[in-house]
Structures are given as C-alpha cells and as structure tokens.
C-alpha cells in the first residue's frame, strides 16, 4: 500500500507540525546542492525562484523560447485565496471544504488543507512582486465569484490572471538568473530521467535548436511540466503542452495517479471545422453574469434573438436552482452535453449552447442609469450603459470571441461547448510532493494534485504557486538534508551514458521509420478515440474498444510516421513525434484507469454509474482511493491504491441543487 507520509496530528495542525519538524539544510550546504526543475510555468518558475533564493544551485528547463511562455500564462479567470476580504464567511476551512467537495471526495485531505492554509500567502507574495490585481476605488483588492463556491474569494487581473501571476514568478526567476543562482535552459526538452542507486540524479535534455543531447546532474529533480490534456489533440492546452517529462518518469518507476481524471471545461468556443488545431477557453468568470440556455424545441433553427423568452430552456438554472449557472465545471459540462445529445444543440454543428449576456447588459445598464440619476432611462441608454459595464468586466474575452468566430457577442449570444482543459491526474506524489522515485518531485498540474476528481475554477493557479513558493522549499530540504554528503556526480557516470544512449536510440528509431503519415494525423486520430470513448462520458464497452484502437494506432505510428529533416537540427516535427509517442502510451493507461474506476466521480463519468436524474453516482465503498499505476513494460501496469480517509469533510452526495 502506498504511504503518503501524511504528518500526524489534527488536520489544521499538520502543516504547522511538519514545518516545525522537517530537516533543514544550512546555507553553506545549499550552495553545493543542485536542483533540476523541468518546466517554468507557475509551479516551476515559482519553485526555481524560491529555491534559488534559498541558495540552492538551480537549473531550470523549458521547451519554449522563454520561461514566460509557459501555458500557465493562458489562465484567465483568477486565483482563489481564503482571505475573507469580502467578509462573506470565507475561511481556510471553507476553501478546504469547497475544494474537497468540488473534487468529489477524491482528494487527499491533508494536502488540500495545506493548500487552503497557504493560499493567502500567495496573494501577499504576488502583490509584493508587483502583480497588478484588480482593485476597488478604495485601493484594496477586488474579488469575484467562481463556480462551485458561494463566497467571493477569487482574485483576478481582468481576464489575464494567469499571465500576470506567471510574469510575477518569471520576474522572480529572472532575478535569480541575474544573481547567478539559477541557470536557464530555454528551448530544451527533457527526454529522460537519470536514476542512480534508485534515486533521481539528473536528466537527459535535448537542445531543440542544435538537436544535441545534454546530460545534467541534480541532487533532486522537480517536474513541473504541466498536464496532459493534449492527449485529446483538441484541448485548450497550448500546442506544445505534453506529458513527455511525466511519462518518462513513469517509465522510470514513478507511479501515475488517477490518469482518467480529466476536466472538461464548459465554456469553450465550439469546434468550427476539421482544420481546428486547438480550442479556446472563455473564462468561467463569464458564468457569473451570463445565462446559459438552449431552445426548448428540438432542432430549432431560428436566430437566438427570434426565440422568445418562454421558449428558452435555461437548463442549469432549472436543474440546479441553488448554484444556477455557477455549478462546478464537470456538472455544467455534462449538462451541456446532455442537452446537445438530446438534440437541443445550437449553431451549425448542433454541438453548442448559448451563453447569453442580454440579461446582464440590461441589469447593469439599469443599475448604471440609476447611479447617474436617470430615473426612466430609454432602452437604448440602458443598453449602452450595460454594454459599457460588461465591456469593462469582460471586454478582452468578448473581443477574443469576436476575433475567432466573427460574431459580436454584445449583439448575439455566444455559442459555447465543453472542451478538455485540465487534467487532475498526474504523477502520484506524497505529502512532500515526492513521487515514488526518491529525489523526483512533481509540482503543479504535473502531479495528481489536490483537486481530486474535479478542479474548481481558479484553483489551478493557487495550487501551482502553493507548490512552488510555499511547499517545495520546505519539503525538499527534508530530503536534501540527507544528501549533503553526496558530491555532484560527474555526467560520465554509466547511468548518464546509458540514459543518453536510450534517448538517442529512441530518436534514431523515430527518424528511421520514414513512413507516410504526419505526426499530427496520428495525434488527431488518437484525440478522436480519446474524446469519443474516454471523454465526457465513458462506458465499459467504449473503453475496451479504445484500448484496442490505441494499441493498433500505436503500432501503426511506429511503422508509418513520417518525420522530415534530421535529428541534429531544429526539428519541430521530431519534437511532436516524441510527444505523440508518449501520448499514445498514456492514452491507453487513461482508458485502463477509467475502466477500472467503475464509479462516476467529478470529471470521470461512467454511464453505468448514475442516479435516476442522470447525476454522477460515486461509489465510496469501493473506490475511495487514489489509483496509482506502476509501469511494468509495454501495455502492462500494476495498480497500487492509496486509500482516502476523510476525517473532516465527510463524503456526501455532491448536490448543487
């Protein structure tokens, strides 16, 4: 059985106790301890900066041309923190409870509580770094509400919160680079973990410009390489987001936790055609003011404006009166799918629902007119004022929608549909964020995380920064304190040589296939299998088929993929091929995990396990565990269980009615 090394004591004292008792490394020793960090998003950049500040010798790797490009930058809506600045009843416990409940009771209580505890510090830290959060006229910070909660605890910077937080972490990282504490390796991709005597001791990385393989030693290796949503080909992830780092770790003995937990985000711009390369998210914050509806009549082809109010079905408000349009993401996504599958979808593809701002524009317009002392304003004035208020709040999102679709969302309701957005699964880690390989850590979205089976909005940024700024600086010391006698291992050590040879052999194998089909064509096909059979709803038959299909596709890939160019130059096709090869293995594991979990929970919806009303039905008796999979060779995985024990947040049927 897996030991998560959760500290003893009452839940709200565990982290305090841990910090008080973990081992420390003295400053002189820190200087000779090297740490490798893969990925420079919120988790990676904040960890690199914080560990650099502490005095460790840090090497940070990213495949993009600059750490500032990491995909955390695209997060829009906000970051949660239990500050209770709004005096609306928030507390650390509430944030903890909402997160565990939102995650459908599949998260580890101790981790979540720690996350809630440090959430406030994150906001303090970011403000100190100069992150320009939205403010009220009094100069104090502003908050908005987000799905799955009844308090306003989300801090934001227009629709670009992720960008501002990442640039804050990036600047802290660049400061450490300037001070010589961190060395940056841009346009480098990690392709293998080097293990010596069972411990992670380094990586093999490929310089993406020259194609040269490099060996890097580290006393510890941190993976902060993000999620694997791109296994679906179409997702809101960046084109380069990949599972390679985490997957190489899996193949080197790190267990992969809950791979089937995928978050499908309800408010994305629908697919417009076969050419589509990625999907674009419209921030969840839009559900604060927008109303979601479909026509009450099937195959209603009227323009939305021509459909009268009483012929519209505001299905979220109808089904979930307590939370309405602000139900958690998994619930909102499934509800949209249910309506579209039943034939009520809108748009040319019929795979979309309306997100309507007409009511919000009118409501805000009236308030604004009232503020200005206009007592019976004309509808035109109401509209004009309302549009101004909405533009102030969501202007950049509306503009983005218009650029992509060519439709003006102030005039016509937006069309939205769920899309893959985030993966709650990832490398299994213990309380210290260490994987099952000693010295190998996973942070941020790359780990199986604190979000259970479903992540609440504005919690990903919180977790990434919590891991990087406030957790790993303590927990890594507890490990490295025992490593102070380990001298830096020269990279001509046989383990490095062997790892490099393995990587080289893999690249040579890919290059030598010289088949007929592009990497993208395989990726698209994999994505389709995953979306159809391991997407928003899953069943035994589909999953079994998917496993076979993926196996066949993988075999075809290794026979017939075509990669132009050579391996010793800048070759984006080769990069993609390596990543898709890993996705082709991961996809299978996701299906295996989904097949194993014969219950519905959070983002994982098994059609066999639902209530009469079509809500997800958990099976706590049999599945209240983290499924951690050990790689045992081709298509072979062994399941290890970490039982989840709920002392504070007792599992109940999640209800947002």
């Amino acid at each position: 059985m897996l030991d998560a090394k959760i500290p003893a004591g009452p839940l709200d004292k565990k982290w305090e106790n841990y910090k008080g008792h973990c081992k420390l490394v003295n400053p002189a020793n820190k200087r000779s301890l090297e740490v490798i960090i893969v990925g420079t998003g919120l988790a990676g950049a904040s960890a690199a900066a914080s560990l650099g500040e502490l005095g460790y010798k840090v090497k940070a790797f990213c495949f993009q041309d600059s750490p500032r490009r990491a995909h955390s930058i695209a997060a829009q809506g906000g970051i949660n923190a239990a500050k209770n600045y709004q005096n609306d009843g928030d507390s650390v416990y509430r944030l903890f409870y909402d997160t565990v409940k939102g995650g459908d009771y599949r998260a580890r209580e101790a981790n979540v509580h720690r996350l809630a505890e440090v959430s406030g510090n994150i906001i303090d830290q970011c403000v100190a770094q100069g992150v320009p959060f939205a403010r009220e006229y009094g100069g104090l910070l502003s908050n908005r509400s987000f799905g799955g909660t009844q308090v306003q605890r989300t801090f934001y910077a227009a629709g670009q919160t992720g960008q501002q937080l990442l640039l804050g972490a990036y600047s802290a990282l660049e400061r450490q680079v300037a001070l010589g504490n961190v060395t940056l390796y841009n346009r480098h991709e990690m392709l293998e973990i080097v293990k010596i005597d069972g411990k992670a001791r380094g990586i093999i990385a490929r310089d993406l410009i020259t194609g040269k393989l490099e060996r890097h030693f580290g006393h510890a290796v941190l993976l902060a390489s993000g999620g694997y949503g791109n296994v679906f080909f179409l997702s809101t992830n960046a084109m380069g987001s990949n599972v390679t780092a985490a997957w190489k770790a899996t193949r080197k003995g790190a267990f992969f936790g809950n791979p089937c937990y995928t978050q499908i985000h309800p408010t994305c711009i629908p697919v417009s055609g076969d050419h589509q390369s990625k999907l674009t998210l419209m921030s969840e914050s839009l559900r604060n003011d927008g109303r979601i509806w479909v026509p009450k009549k099937k195959d209603d082809n009227r323009k939305p404006a021509d459909i009268p109010e009483d012929e519209r079905d505001y299905y979220l408000e109808r089904r979930y009166p307590a939370f309405g349009n602000l139900v958690p993401r998994d619930v909102a996504s499934r509800a949209a799918k249910e309506r579209c599958d039943a034939g009520y979808g809108v748009g040319s593809s019929k795979q979309a629902v309306y997100l309507d701002y007409a009511a919000a524009i009118e409501r805000y317009g009236k308030i604004e007119a009232g503020k200005r002392g206009v007592h019976s304003p004309s509808p035109e004035l109401v509209r004009q004022l309302g549009v101004e208020v909405v533009a102030e709040k969501y202007g950049n999102l509306f503009e983005m929608y218009e650029k992509i679709t060519g439709e003006n969302p102030y005039e016509v309701p937006m069309r939205i549909y769920p899309a893959v957005h985030y993966t709650m699964g990832g490398l299994w880690v213990d309380y210290e964020l260490m994987t099952t390989v000693p010295g190998l850590y996973a942070l941020g979205e790359a780990n199986f995380s604190d979000h259970g089976a479903n992540r609440l909005g504005a919690s990903a940024l919180m977790q990434g920064l919590a891991d990087g700024y406030f957790v790993i600086p303590y927990t890594i010391g507890n490990y490295l304190a025992d490593e102070i006698r380990t001298k830096a291992i020269p990279t001509d050590h046989p383990a490095f040589v062997e790892a490099e040879q393995q990587v080289k052999a893999n690249i040579d194998r890919l290059m030598s296939i010289k088949g007929t089909k592009s990497v993208d064509s395989f990726h698209r096909r994999l994505g389709k299998i995953m979306w159809d059979k391991c997407g928003m709803a899953r069943n035994e038959k589909g999953l079994k088929e998917a496993i076979e299909e993926i196996k066949a596709l993988r075999a075809e890939f290794w026979k017939d993929v075509r990669i132009p160019g050579t391996a010793d130059e800048f070759n984006p096709e080769l990069e993609k091929a390596g990543r898709v090869a890993d996705f082709l293995e991961l996809g299978e594991l996701m299906c295996i995990d989904a097949l194993n979990r014969r219950e519905s929970c959070g983002g994982h919806f098994r059609e066999e396990s639902q209530t009469e009303e079509g809500e997800a039905l958990r099976d706590d008796a049999n599945f209240a565990y983290v499924a951690a999979w050990e790689y045992k060779g081709d298509s072979s995985y062994e399941l290890h269980k970490e039982p989840l024990i709920f002392e504070e947040a007792k599992p109940t049927q999640r209800s947002y009615k």
């Binding site: 914080s50 993009q64 041309d65 600059s66 500032r68 490009r69 995909h71 930058i73 695209a74 500050k83 510090n121 906001i123 303090d124 830290q125 970011c126 100190a128 770094q129 100069g130 320009p132 959060f133 939205a134 403010r135 009220e136 100069g139 104090l140 910070l141 227009a158 992720g162 501002q164 640039l167 990036y170 600047s171 660049e174 400061r175 680079v177 300037a178 940056l184 841009n186 809101t236 960046a238 050419h275 589509q276 390369s277 990625k278 674009t280 650029k403 060519g406 700024y469 406030f470 007929t516 592009s518 993208d520 064509s521 075509r562 132009p564 160019g565 130059e569 800048f570 984006p572 096709e573």
Partner: protein
C-alpha cells in the same frame, strides 16, 4: 479560398535565406492564420518536403510566442491581434501573402520564421522585477493602490513579450517592451525601492543587445497586439532622466 504564399525559408542562423512561393487551396475563412500554415505543412510533409518552422504555442494570443511579419505588418493586418488570433477572414480569395520573420539584429533568425528573442529575457534580468524573496510579503491589502494606478500598471503589464514592437519599428527599437515593464513597476509603490537602478540598467542592457533607438514614430503602438501605449515610453524616459540626474552611483 485559394492563396499564394511567399514565405521566408532559412535553414539555420548561418544560411542566407530566400523566399519560396506556395499555393494553398480550399482555405476556409474560419481558419486561423496558423491553421492555414498547419494545412500547408501537412501537405509539405506528405510531399516529402521540409515543413516551415514557426514559433507558436498557446494559440490564444497570450503566450507571445507566435511572430510572423505578414504583408509588411507585425502579426498581420488586424489591430490588437497576434498572428495566432488572426483569422483568414482578413484575406480574400486570390490574395498573395508575404510572410517574413521578425527582422532585427537582436533577434537572429534560427530557422525559417523562428527567431531568438533571448534579448528580452536578458533585459528583464537587468531589473524587470521587484526584489522580494518568497515569504517576505506583508498582507496584500496593507498596500492600497489607487484604482487608476493599478489599472495603468495592469495595462502596461499586459505586454506579452512577443517582440512585435521591435519588428514594427523601423529602428528595431525595444523601447515599448522595456517601457511596459518599467512603467508597470514604476506605477506601483512596491516598485519604488529599485526605481533608480531599474530604468538605468534595463536601458543599458537594451542598448547592449543591439536594439535601435526610439524615434517616436508610433509604429510599435499601432502593431502591439496588446495595444501597449506610447505613454509608457514617455514614462520610461522620465524614469531614466530622473535616475540619471539624481542617482548617486
């Protein structure tokens, strides 16, 4: 629609480079500009040719990685839009589109349309930060900041570091980029302690990287996908003058 593309091809840093012409057929107006490139690349691969290398990642206009000079315009014809958000609606059937990489000695071409923008990172290293170690922060609301100042700081901080300002400027000046960061931090009280050194060091690094100087033509502002304002450049100038005239070291 059918289009003629003239695309800059360059094998590596040392290659001379040249334009190559491609015909693309059946392009949907719903496609993004980069999806049109995906279609072309897919075809080139099928024909056994080398696909065109270009930088891109988030494809939602925020990571700043995409960087194409399209028909003489950084990020193409739409104002306030990155290449990845540019859609084919902007063109009409039969158009010839010329696509070049960013051109600046500080941004050497790596391959085809991909350039090295490491100079921007080094400018940030020179002072584009507030020196606060993790754990040193006071409560976030202990520092009230007037809304207009916070909004202006945010508007400057919206810079995505794509380099369109450099690409658009006839002098390849990086002033808009540098000024956006200097402005953000100058507008906030947190940025005050390092105010003097920041402007001086970042400008010195900018010069060292080989960017040109600003002649206030305004092309950067016109091409910036995040519509960063020229007032930031004025603020950088003020910060620089103030520091140059008063800082003792």
């Amino acid at each position: 629609m059918n289009l003629t593309l003239k695309v800059w091809r360059q094998k590596n840093k040392n290659d001379q480079g040249r334009f190559e012409t491609y015909q693309v057929q059946d392009i949907s107006s719903e496609m993004s500009f980069l999806e049109m490139f995906d279609v072309l690349n897919e075809r080139l691969i099928n024909e056994g040719k080398e696909p065109i290398a270009f930088d891109h990642d988030c494809r939602e206009g925020i990571c700043g990685m995409c960087s194409m000079h399209i028909n003489g315009r950084a990020h193409g014809p739409w104002a306030g839009t990155t290449t990845c958000q540019l859609h084919m609606r902007a063109f009409k059937d039969g158009d010839t589109i010329t696509v070049e990489p960013w051109r600046a000695s500080a941004f050497p071409v790596l391959k085809d349309l991909t350039v090295d923008r490491g100079a921007f990172d080094r400018i940030i290293e020179a002072g584009g930060y507030i020196s606060v170690n993790t754990g040193n922060a006071v409560d976030a609301n202990a520092i009230p900041i007037p809304k207009d100042k916070a909004d202006a700081a945010f508007a400057a901080a919206a810079c995505i570091g794509c380099g369109a300002c450099v690409a658009a400027c006839k002098n390849s000046s990086a002033m808009l980029f540098v000024s956006a960061k200097v402005s953000q931090l100058a507008l906030l009280p947190q940025g005050d302690p390092e105010r003097s050194t920041r402007a001086l060091n970042m400008v010195a690094q900018m010069d060292k990287e080989g960017f040109g100087s600003c002649t206030n033509t305004g092309a950067c502002e016109a091409e910036c996908p995040k519509e960063i304002s020229l007032t930031n450049i004025a603020r950088l100038n003020r910060e620089f003058i103030r520091s140059g005239f008063t800082y003792e070291k």
